[in-house]
């Protein structure tokens, strides 16, 4: 692999972010990180370490107080479909059918109905929801709604996927199923992914590389490469390699000095 030679697709350079207000809150401080093309990077950190703030900066909804963020070489100013962002909250559009949700990004891009339909057909198949194409989201489980949100972003063919704890609200079993679904989706349509989570195992199972953030104000505390073979499965979760990295990450995420 010549991954080291290629320039990063996404980079943050000395980024600080402070929420203004009566008691200003420093969410991020001098944070730098890079995501290479087609890399699956997990950002791991405790609740309230500024993970969501970081994603909102990459998505273009917040401007760093200090430092700079760049995507594909140019500075990020404002949101856009090239950086597909899946929110932590449920944000599937409840007034649209599953198919309309999947096609919304293409509609915004001005893609013709027939072409939109072809893409949504493909994603309905990929996430196994063909039977639910004309159902409203209220008929879906929380996990399936989240998969529609991920697929909805992928349907616009963005350069980059920003996922904010997409499976945080799910029970352990559904969560594992959704992780497999996401891993499957990713292996078939390689994309650069920045995945934010507070779950060590989830990060290990999905990512090529893990960045650990410190508690607020968030900055990079440690890096780990996850050199586990793909496709990953239940076997991966109990392999010695997995457990060895898990121990290292676990120690790094423990209470700091």
């Amino acid at each position: 692999m010549t991954a080291n030679a290629s320039p990063p697709l996404l980079e943050a350079l000395d980024v600080s972010y402070t929420y203004s207000g009566l008691t200003p809150t420093r969410a991020l401080e001098d944070l730098s990180l890079e995501v290479k093309e087609n890399e699956f990077l997990a950002v791991l950190g405790p609740v309230g370490c500024g993970k969501t703030t970081l994603l909102r900066i990459f998505a273009g909804f917040l401007r760093p107080t200090k430092g700079s963020v760049r995507c594909a070489g140019s500075s990020i100013d404002g949101p856009g479909w090239q950086r597909g962002y899946v929110l932590q909250e449920q944000a599937i559009f409840p007034w649209m059918t599953v198919r309309e949700n999947l096609e919304f990004g293409l509609l915004a891009k001005g893609v013709a109905p027939a072409a939109r339909r072809a893409v949504s057909d493909q994603f309905l198949g990929l996430i196994g929801l063909s039977e639910f194409e004309s159902a409203f989201p209220k008929e879906l489980s929380t996990g399936m709604s989240k998969m529609v949100e991920v697929a909805r972003v992928l349907a616009t063919d963005p350069a980059l996927l920003l996922l904010d704890e997409p499976f945080g609200a799910l029970d352990a079993q559904t969560r594992a199923r959704m992780q497999d679904a996401l891993a499957g989706l990713w292996e078939r349509r390689r994309k650069t992914v920045l995945f934010v989570t507070h779950d060590v195992e989830e990060a290990l199972y999905l990512a090529d590389r893990i960045v650990v953030l410190s508690p607020r104000p968030g900055k990079v505390k440690a890096h780990f490469a996850v050199d586990l073979p793909r496709p990953r499965s239940v076997e991966t979760r109990f392999s010695t390699g997995f457990l060895a990295v898990k121990r290292k990450v676990w120690e790094a995420t423990g209470p700091g000095p």
Binding site: F61, W81, L87, F93, W95, L107
Partner: protein, 281 residues
């Protein structure tokens, strides 16, 4: 369904019987008119009172009073009065709702617009709609304007807050998701903002309808020669109203008609809301 309509009729009949018994027991026809008086006034106000062949009916069943006579002389009927008031209510809703929603949308969407508009809104919303009547008359004289403007105003002011909260508190995450998918401008407004705010706006619609009826009837009671408010105060303008003795049967008929009209419009609003937000429940 048939069972339910039967229950409806039964409970209505029971209500009439109970009312008749209570009216007998109280025996104060000047404030609690007997049911047959109410029915008589109802018939008279529909314009049928004078058509009843007097010979077939016992004399006391032919309802006549000072107020009924005045109204009949002026050619006032219940259906025409209700039609006029309904028209004013609808005008208030059709003009007032977009105005109120636009203001709520602006305030909910832009923090800066909220900063400028909110204090003004709080100031104007405490002005009772009917207090505008005399001022509007100063500008426009005795016209339809001082019956319609208070209704428009009341509806608009009531529609602001539901829209504001719908946009500000509900739509936020959907707007973020949609903008990340590349949506802007009109697409964002029509496909995201309005549907996201719809349940709140439609919930507010029911309040707007109620307030429109209250304001329209109030404005008519004060300054109008037609509509339900005019019927309630006995027709004519101020000078003649003071000379007309109120007929309790007419007033009860008026109140019942207003209740029925309000109920019907609320039903309609609920049906339309349910249809528009089928996705939500």
């Amino acid at each position: 369904m048939a069972r339910r309509s039967l229950l409806w009729i039964l409970s209505l009949a029971a209500l009439i019987v109970a009312y008749t018994l209570v009216a007998r027991a109280i025996s104060r026809p000047d404030v609690v008119p007997p049911a047959e008086d109410i029915a008589g006034a109802f018939a008279a106000l529909l314009g049928r009172g004078h058509q009843l062949p007097a010979s077939d009916m016992p004399a006391h069943h032919h309802h006549s009073s000072d107020q009924v006579d005045t109204l009949t002389q002026e050619g006032v009927t219940l259906q025409a009065s209700l039609a006029v008031t309904t028209a004013r209510v609808l005008f208030g809703l059709v003009v007032g709702l977009p105005l109120g929603m636009l203001m709520g949308l602006l305030m909910g969407w832009s923090r800066r617009a909220d900063d400028y508009l909110h204090p003004i809104y709080v100031l104007i919303r405490s002005v009772p709609p009917l207090s505008l009547i005399t001022y509007i008359m100063l500008w426009l004289g005795h016209s339809e304007a001082h019956r319609l403007i208070p209704v428009v105003y009341a509806v608009a002011v009531t529609a602001v807050i539901p829209t504001y909260h719908g946009v500000r508190d509900v739509a936020g995450k959907y707007v973020v998701a949609a903008r990340s998918l590349g949506a802007r401008g009109r697409l964002l407004l029509i496909k995201i903002l309005l549907p996201a705010a719809a349940p709140a706006v439609l919930g507010g619609l029911r309040y707007s309808i109620a307030i429109a009826w209250m304001t329209a009837v109030g404005a008519e009671m004060l300054m109008a020669e037609n509509g339900m408010g005019n019927l309630l105060v006995g027709g004519g303008m101020w000078s003649s109203r003071l000379q007309t003795r109120s007929d309790p049967a007419v007033i009860v008929v008026g109140i019942l008609a207003l209740a029925a009209a309000g109920w019907a419009m609320d039903m309609l609003a609920r049906t339309v809301s349910a249809r528009l937000t089928r996705w939500a429940t």
